[in-house]
């Protein structure tokens, strides 16, 4: 069919300007000339999360896409400048509350790097257990969201029911279901008793059983495979160029995992494999995370078996009880001042590399600047790139396959 271009002056609606919608005039003009539609998905749409996706549609196909994030921006970085270092721990885990283990860990490691604190072995193991529990919980959460985006309600209910095991174990360790704030500079808040550790190990077997049922009903379901296979493909080169991180980078065939490349905590003391995919499509992105859950289960068992005895707080920290920091908080962290400089830590959070940078002026008890670069923000570009050329109905499938989490990206 011959394409007819219409040379009419196009004015974008005034509302675009009023509501600060990031649509350039050229975008609208081109859409009109090429007989395309400009469709806004979100931020109140059931399949968009707390963000707006501005699409240009040619028939049913997406030709161009502009993300409009920032609807759940909470100014974490600015807030952190007004709080002491220890008060920032509950703050920095807020971007992704299911993933609190990794977020705490990243921030605390930056402080420990500044103060050059050596963490006791037992504390390292407990931290790793928390990080892996958070990882399983987050992956299950994302799988549930993916399922509900595909209209599969059972696939939504199963992971959320299974996640309750994880939450229960986190409650046993930290005392809260989510947002544990358990990891403090120099170690962890208090010791974990042997009974809880054995319970975690027993939980992993129950978890594995339930996940088999989930696999039967959702992962190998023909509708799931039909919706995700060869959808939203991102090639290896593109993924590297766009700075995609975490399981989504590994799904494109790139072998990069911070836990392997620069091992921290107890990751180099246990035996585990990096999960790498090949195709870079939606289904691989999902499968990589599914396999990471089984790796994490494997890790948890090893961590519980090999956990050494000893203190959970470093010798450098003032604490009345080496097994429990409660009651010594003011003495230990009240006047914590980092030496002047810039300290960075990279952590492998559930959705990818998480970067914390603390800039200290060497005088105040608050950071001069705290920089948080979250994985969701890093792979937003790759996510948008993978949408191009796909169908409108695939938008939700691709969204779910990326596990994009707006609060995490917006911070």
């Amino acid at each position: 069919m011959e394409e007819i271009s219409i040379e009419v002056p196009v004015e974008p609606p005034k509302e675009y300007e009023w509501y600060f919608i990031p649509v350039p005039k050229k975008f609208v003009e081109e859409a009109y000339r090429k007989d395309e539609f400009v469709v806004f998905v979100g931020p109140q749409h059931p399949g968009s999360g707390h963000m707006r996706i501005i699409l240009r549609l040619k028939g049913d196909f997406i030709t161009d896409v502009i993300p409009d994030p920032g609807y759940v921006h909470r100014s974490m970085e600015k807030l952190a400048e007004y709080k002491t270092y220890i008060q920032n721990i509950p703050l920095v885990e807020r971007p992704s509350i299911m993933d609190f283990g990794n977020y705490n860990l990243g921030y605390v490691r930056a402080i420990e790097e500044a103060l050059e604190i050596e963490v006791p072995e037992r504390a390292k193991y407990i931290r790793t257990i928390l990080a892996e529990l958070s990882r399983i919980g987050t992956h299950l959460y994302d799988a549930g969201i993916l399922a509900v985006f595909l209209g599969h309600t059972t696939g939504f209910m199963y992971p959320f029911a299974v996640r309750e095991f994880i939450v229960e174990m986190i409650t046993r360790i930290t005392g809260t279901r989510i947002t544990g704030s358990f990891i403090v500079p120099g170690g962890v808040r208090r010791d974990v008793d042997n009974d809880t550790l054995q319970k975690i190990k027993r939980m992993t077997y129950a978890l594995e059983n339930r996940l088999k049922k989930f696999e039967k009903i959702f992962i190998t379901n023909p509708t799931t495979i039909a919706r995700l296979k060869d959808v939203g493909v991102l090639s290896k080169e593109e993924a590297i160029k766009l700075g995609v991180v975490g399981p989504f980078l590994r799904a494109c065939g790139v072998e990069y995992d911070v836990r392997k490349v620069e091992p921290y905590e107890a990751y180099d003391e246990i035996d585990w494999e990096m999960v790498v995919g090949e195709d870079g499509d939606g289904y691989t992105r999902f499968l990589v995370r599914v396999n990471e859950v089984s790796q994490s289960i494997n890790m948890l068992r090893q961590l519980v078996d090999n956990i050494p005895e000893g203190d959970v707080i470093s010798e450098d920290i003032v604490a009345f009880d080496r097994k429990d920091i409660r009651g010594s908080f003011f003495e230990a962290y009240g006047d914590l001042v980092l030496p002047k400089g810039e300290y960075t830590s990279i952590t492998e959070a559930s959705r990818g590399s998480l970067l914390f940078t603390i800039v200290s002026d060497g005088e105040s008890t608050t950071p001069y600047r705290l920089r948080i670069v979250t994985p969701s923000w890093l792979y937003l570009k790759g996510f948008m790139e993978s949408l191009k050329g796909e169908r409108l109905a695939d938008l939700q499938a691709i969204y779910g396959s990326w596990g994009y989490f707006p609060p995490e990206a917006d911070r």
Binding site: L150, G151, T154, M157, A393
Partner: protein
């Protein structure tokens, strides 16, 4: 001098006689009906209600049965889905019965909710189309007999009933057009695409059964089923079943409504009781197709006669068969996700069409073999 009252009473008596000549016979209610028939004027109403063509529309398999289906089937679907998903399902309303009146409670909530008509809507069509959609729901029921209770007997009854059922998507297209919303438009176009993809295999499956029985008359069809039709032509049944799931907009073919993608598509702007009505359309269509499936594949109303119910027992058997079939189909929701539009179209035009054609040839083989 003309005796006006005499003429009027004469006409009334004639109408009464015509109505009573064709009344539903229910032995258990006989004493009550006889007593009511003695009272003037009330007897006319009672005779009209029990007049078979009116009874078909008003009770089984008509309006009352549709209401029961809507109330019970939605509850059953939610309960069954909940069991599969490790949940309990509705239970707070009427705890002792397991929340069986939950749908009624929801319906009452809808009744008292404000019906919002947005500025862009075509007000007239937007409001009347959901109500008018009862026409293609209730018209086919005139042609679906339940034993001796029937309204119209025709050698083409099944074909006409299926054709009338196929009118429902036209109303959904109208609803989507009048809503004047971009998600409604997308959903409407999806519905229009799917409509052709499932309706043709569905009709071929029905016609292959009509060919097998050599008649579209439900009485002949039920009589000829010495074994249930499903065993005579299982391929046609599978084609009909999948076509039925697609026609009723159930998952995995819930494409035109897709709440995560286009927020209930054509029905996105509805609220209040009108929303309740449009959400009922899919269940009504499912019910009609289940009735037709019960007649074509499961021996219709044939079953052991329940003496005290008399003629009503046929209707009960037909209704039960349709109900069990529906109860099975609503379970599919918990097992599958949603296909994309192009995948569903591809499936409808290739696999499903092939299946229905194979069913047609099997029927033709039976006809040639049996002579």
């Amino acid at each position: 001098m003309v005796d006006v009252s005499g003429i009027v009473s004469g006409i009334v008596e004639k109408i009464f006689a015509a109505l009573t000549a064709n009344m539903v016979n229910i032995p258990i209610l006989e004493p009550l009906i006889n007593k009511l028939l003695q009272i003037p004027l009330v007897n006319l109403v009672v005779a009209f209600i029990l007049w078979k063509p009116a009874f078909v529309i008003l009770f089984v398999p008509g309006l009352l049965a549709v209401t029961v289906v809507l109330l019970i089937m939605i509850w059953w679907e939610r309960k069954l889905t909940a069991r599969i998903q490790w949940r309990v399902g509705p239970k707070e309303v009427s705890r002792r019965t397991g929340g069986i009146i939950q749908t009624l409670a929801d319906g009452m909530r809808y009744m008292f909710q404000e019906v919002i008509i947005h500025r862009d809507a075509h007000k007239l069509y937007f409001l009347q189309l959901p109500i008018l959609s009862f026409i293609p729901v209730l018209l086919p029921i005139l042609l679906i007999p339940a034993g001796t209770i029937y309204a119209i007997r025709s050698p083409y009854a099944i074909q006409i009933a299926v054709a009338l059922t196929a009118l429902l998507p036209i109303f959904i297209l109208g609803i989507g057009w009048s809503a004047n919303n971009r998600f409604a438009f997308i959903g409407t176009v999806r519905e229009a695409f799917l409509y052709v993809a499932y309706e043709i295999p569905l009709m071929i499956a029905v016609l292959s059964m009509v060919l097998l029985y050599k008649s579209g008359d439900p009485f002949v069809i039920v009589e000829k089923q010495w074994i249930p039709g499903i065993f005579m032509n299982p391929i046609a049944f599978i084609a009909f079943l999948i076509g039925m799931v697609m026609a009723a907009g159930r998952l995995p073919f819930d494409i035109s409504e897709a709440d995560q993608e286009i927020a209930f598509g054509p029905f996105v702007e509805y609220s209040g009781i009108i929303f309740g009505l449009v959400m009922g359309i899919a269940y009504e269509k499912l019910y009609l197709l289940s009735l037709i499936a019960a007649i074509l594949f499961f021996g219709g109303w044939s079953g052991p006669e329940i003496a005290f119910l008399g003629e009503l027992s046929y209707a009960i058997w037909l209704f039960l068969k349709a109900f069990v079939l529906m109860g099975f189909i609503v379970m599919v929701r918990a097992i599958y996700g949603r296909y994309r539009l192009d995948q569903a179209l591809k499936f409808g035009w290739s696999s499903l069409l092939t299946f229905s054609l194979i069913g047609f040839f099997i029927s033709a083989g039976w006809v040639i073999w049996l002579g």
